[in-house]
């Protein structure tokens, strides 16, 4: 298992290199530069800024310079926020996204899991149809509709919770964004759990357990639950990576200082280093969580052997 993990981690390096290279080339190929502005600046000053950020060097040298810095863990200076480094932007934003993301995913797992398993156990009942209707609605209602509605109800009208901001992650500021972010995941996990529970409940080993005369509760908790988690784990790997790097919509609607929002503005402002930095981070997290998912399979399903 350890050898497997190390090998997978080493295998991630060329993948990341490809990601960096592609991001670098695509960004530099886009028209317009980070210091093009509506009001034109003097040529000498433009030259001085370009020299400061090494934009005057040939592209291959900029690329090698970037790789060298990256190897040392330095993602470079941000171009759109002068005097701020990309490392700093990520260090400031990642904890925010991680707090909201992990709260949301925990919420989604508990609520979605419970709803899904219950629906599977009472297949064809009113509860089943009701919860699945809710799930379909949850998946198909975009966050940019749900989040402002929640603000309108809980912040503007009832004044129960703040409409946004962060304030060091105080619980009252966490509630609305975490719920808004969790809703589609609750729905997705509920559907996923319902499907896999039904499948597992129909499998021969459950029939054996029923034949032994075990009560349903024991069957579900002891035998059925673990195998139902397999599809969930493959969903959760990339989902957690995505949540950690932030939801652009939730961040902008609630005014949260996460990194998702920077990704879009950085791309529009040609903030090369910030875009590549976030892309690399996102790539690394996806690789990491996919690896964790694979390791989880082995724990859930003894038939899986990692080599």
């Amino acid at each position: 298992m350890l050898r497997y993990t190390v090998r997978r981690l080493l295998g991630a390096i060329p993948t990341l290199l490809v990601i960096v290279t592609l991001a670098f080339l695509l960004l530099h190929a886009a028209p317009g530069g980070p210091f093009d502005a509506a009001k034109r600046m003097l040529p000498e000053i433009q030259k001085s800024i370009e020299a400061k950020y090494h934009l005057d060097e040939p592209l291959w040298r900029q690329y090698l310079r970037y790789l060298g810095d990256l190897a040392r863990g330095d993602l470079g200076p941000s171009f759109q926020y002068r005097g701020t480094s990309v490392n700093e932007i990520i260090a400031q934003g990642l904890p925010v996204d991680a707090t909201i993301g992990l709260t949301a995913i925990t919420l989604a797992l508990v609520v979605g899991g419970a709803v899904g398993v219950n629906a599977a156990l009472r297949r064809g009942s009113r509860w089943d149809y009701g919860s699945m209707a809710f799930a379909v609605a949850g998946i198909s209602t975009p966050v940019f509709v749900v989040a402002p509605l929640m603000i309108l109800i809980f912040a503007v009208t009832l004044h129960w919770l703040p409409a946004g901001d962060w304030v060091g992650g105080s619980p009252s500021h966490l509630v609305l964004p975490a719920i808004a972010l969790a809703l589609p995941y609750v729905a997705y996990i509920a559907r996923l759990m319902r499907g896999s529970t039904i499948e597992v409940l129909n499998s021969p080993f459950i029939r054996t357990a029923r034949a032994k005369g075990l009560p349903l509760r024991l069957i579900v908790w002891r035998h059925a639950l673990r195998p139902t988690l397999t599809p969930l784990v493959s969903f959760l790997g990339p989902a957690i990576a995505g949540l950690l790097t932030g939801s652009i919509v939730v961040e902008s609607v609630f005014g949260l200082p996460g990194i998702g929002r920077h990704f879009i503005t950085a791309a529009l402002n040609r903030d090369y280093t910030l875009v590549i930095g976030i892309t690399v981070l996102y790539g690394a997290l996806i690789i990491l969580f996919n690896l964790l998912a694979d390791l989880c399979y082995a724990w859930i399903d003894p038939r899986v052997r990692l080599r």
Binding site: A30, P31, G32, G33, F35, D36, A37, A38, K39, R40, M41, L42, P43, E44, I45, K47, S48, I49, K52, Q80, Y81, R82, G83, T84, I89, Q92, G93, F144, V145, P148, L149, I151, L152, A155, V156, T157, H159, P162, A163, G164, D165, W166, S252, V253, F254, G255, L256, P257, R261, H262, T265, L268, N269, R270
Partner: protein, 553 residues
């Protein structure tokens, strides 16, 4: 006690979620349910904490590197130049308590306050200004707005790398006296010196921390407030600066700027009571907001102009005056401003926005009836060689930055179609792409806009000066250049303004651009926030503001 009614936010869910589409502002607003109101007292509120919305994350808090409006808002609170602006946005004594100027207007002597200090208690001297101004024009600093200092002798030559920085026309006569030499008479100098690039910066922290000097833990400033906290893209907190020379008159103890680049978010946070003052609101929500919030919606003229530019270096506009005039004349500006921009912006017939003491040279065609103007436009269009068989086919290039502008441009294109029979399509590009194409003079007909840096026509005139970097259409007329140059050497402001008016007439005679409308400021302001006035530069310093007692019922 006066009770100000703020109507309920229930009115239109759809508006908050999706943004309202264009609504005829003349229709009566929908009937609203009974409203919660804010009761405002007459005494000062016990807690003087002002929450302001901000449209975007400032790109830098270094006064000499800042180029954006959000940066200006913050820096106006953190720093103070030789001059500052008063509550009405007019220049007022800042670090300098008085000044004298020579008869030719080219030499000024500023007398600095003896009680002016940095936020760490160190005295603020004339030498600090010498250091700061040399810093902004030094190409090594990389200050994008270095040419803002062009009025100071040798500033441009230094910024172009032709002269050393100590050649700059600024000299400390003693600790409290600063002598400034100008390259020409500059009647707007006092406005210029209240701009962020002319603010003093504290040399010891810059020498010690380099780019990091603007962090809350290092920064030393000289304005009414100091920086306490800077959470990127989220919140910037300022505290009152006890070392500020006029601290006794600053009532607000803390200012919190909430950054929300999505303007609907600022609206919802205002509604929720988290924000007392928004930087703006989505212009398409104007009728709805007005019906819900009444007087809390504030909009007023802003010193900027929206226009369309034409490319003078290529056909069809090169050497084709009748075509350019036809396009200028065929636009129905009044109904477009009223219906497509909901009456927030005023229609423009000239370049320089309304300015005190300045007589806009309104062209004759602006007074024609619609029918007469259309007929004239058609005649010019035919004269330019176009007809129903051979219509003008062209793309109008705009940017995606302003989502509302698209409707407006579609309506402009439709006007040209119905009046002239021209076939113009609106084409949107990413902002950075548009900028690059503009600088390469690739576009024929394009979105353009200009916001003045200081309240003087000169900041507008530069745009159509031959060879200026912002002259995207490549317009050139020696007569216009001569008038602008003459105004640049004219110390008498009345005569200067006359010269600018003549220059504007040249622009109109040449149909140098297609004027559309003048900008307007857009704020939502709680009724208990006092100590501010709308002004054309849209500068509202927290220093003057205060909060009255209030209660939400």
């Amino acid at each position: 006690m006066t009770a100000l009614r703020a109507r309920a936010p229930w009115a239109s869910l759809a508006c908050l979620i999706a943004g309202c589409s264009s609504v005829d502002p003349s229709t009566t607003p929908p009937k609203l349910p009974p409203a919660p109101s804010i009761t405002v007292g007459t005494g000062l509120a016990g807690e003087q904490i002002l929450s302001r919305g901000l449209d975007d994350t400032p790109r830098s808090l270094d006064p000499q590197l800042s180029t954006d409006v959000p940066g200006q808002r913050l820096l106006d609170d953190l720093f103070e130049g030789l001059t500052t602006v008063d509550i009405a946005g007019k220049p007022a004594p800042g670090v300098a308590s008085s000044w004298d100027s020579s008869a030719d207007g080219k030499t000024w002597v500023f007398h600095l306050r003896r009680d002016a200090r940095w936020s760490n208690g160190a005295p603020l001297t004339a030498g600090d200004f010498v250091y700061s101004w040399r810093r902004v024009v030094d190409p090594k600093t990389g200050a994008e707005y270095a040419q803002g200092m062009a009025a100071i002798d040798n500033a441009l030559a230094i910024a172009l790398g032709q002269k050393p920085t100590d050649a700059l026309g600024v000299e400390a006569l003693d600790e409290h006296t600063l002598k400034v030499r100008l390259s020409g008479p500059t009647p707007y100098l006092l406005d210029l010196l209240s701009q962020q690039y002319a603010y003093p910066v504290y040399q010891p922290v810059i020498a010690r921390y380099g780019d990091d000097w603007v962090r809350p833990e290092h920064i030393v400033s000289n304005g009414p407030f100091v920086l306490r906290e800077n959470v990127l893209s989220s919140r910037i907190t300022l505290e009152k600066n006890a070392n500020y020379w006029d601290a006794a008159h600053v009532r607000v103890q803390r200012v919190i700027y909430y950054i929300a680049s999505d303007r609907s978010v600022q609206v919802s946070r205002f509604m929720a009571g988290d924000v007392d003052w928004t930087d703006s609101f989505p212009s398409n929500q104007y009728p709805w907001l007005k019906s819900v919030l009444g007087d809390q919606v504030v909009n007023s003229p802003y010193f900027g102009t929206y226009m369309l530019g034409m490319n003078f270096t290529r056909p069809p506009f090169k050497d084709n005056l009748p075509l350019r005039q036809a396009l200028v004349l065929a636009i129905d500006r009044e109904p477009l401003a009223r219906y497509m921009r909901l009456g927030i912006y005023q229609p423009a017939y000239t370049f320089v926005p309304p300015l005190e003491g300045y007589q806009q040279p309104r062209p004759d065609w602006a007074g024609l009836s619609d029918a007469a103007r259309h007929a004239l436009a058609r005649k010019l269009y035919a004269q330019a060689g176009y007809s129903e068989r051979h219509p003008l086919r062209l793309d109008l290039e705009s940017s995606r930055q302003d989502p509302d502008a698209r409707h407006y441009y579609e309506a402009v294109a439709e006007g040209w179609r119905s009046v002239l029979g021209a076939d113009v399509h609106v084409y949107e590009r990413e902002f950075k792409v548009l900028l690059q194409e503009l600088q390469l003079h690739k576009l024929l007909l394009f979105h353009d806009a200009w916001i003045g840096d200081y309240p003087d026509p000169y900041t507008f005139m530069q745009v159509y000066y031959t060879g200026d970097g912002n002259n995207h259409g490549g317009y050139s007329n020696p007569q216009f250049d001569r008038l602008v140059d003459a105004a640049g050497q004219e110390p008498d402001n009345v005569k200067r303004y006359r010269l600018f008016e003549q220059a504007e007439r040249v622009l109109d005679d040449d149909a140098a651009f297609i004027p559309l409308y003048f900008y307007a400021t857009r704020h939502l302001v709680k009724p208990y926030v006092r100590g501010w006035q709308s002004n054309i530069m849209d500068r509202n310093l927290s220093r003057y503001m205060y909060l009255l007692e209030h209660q939400r019922r």
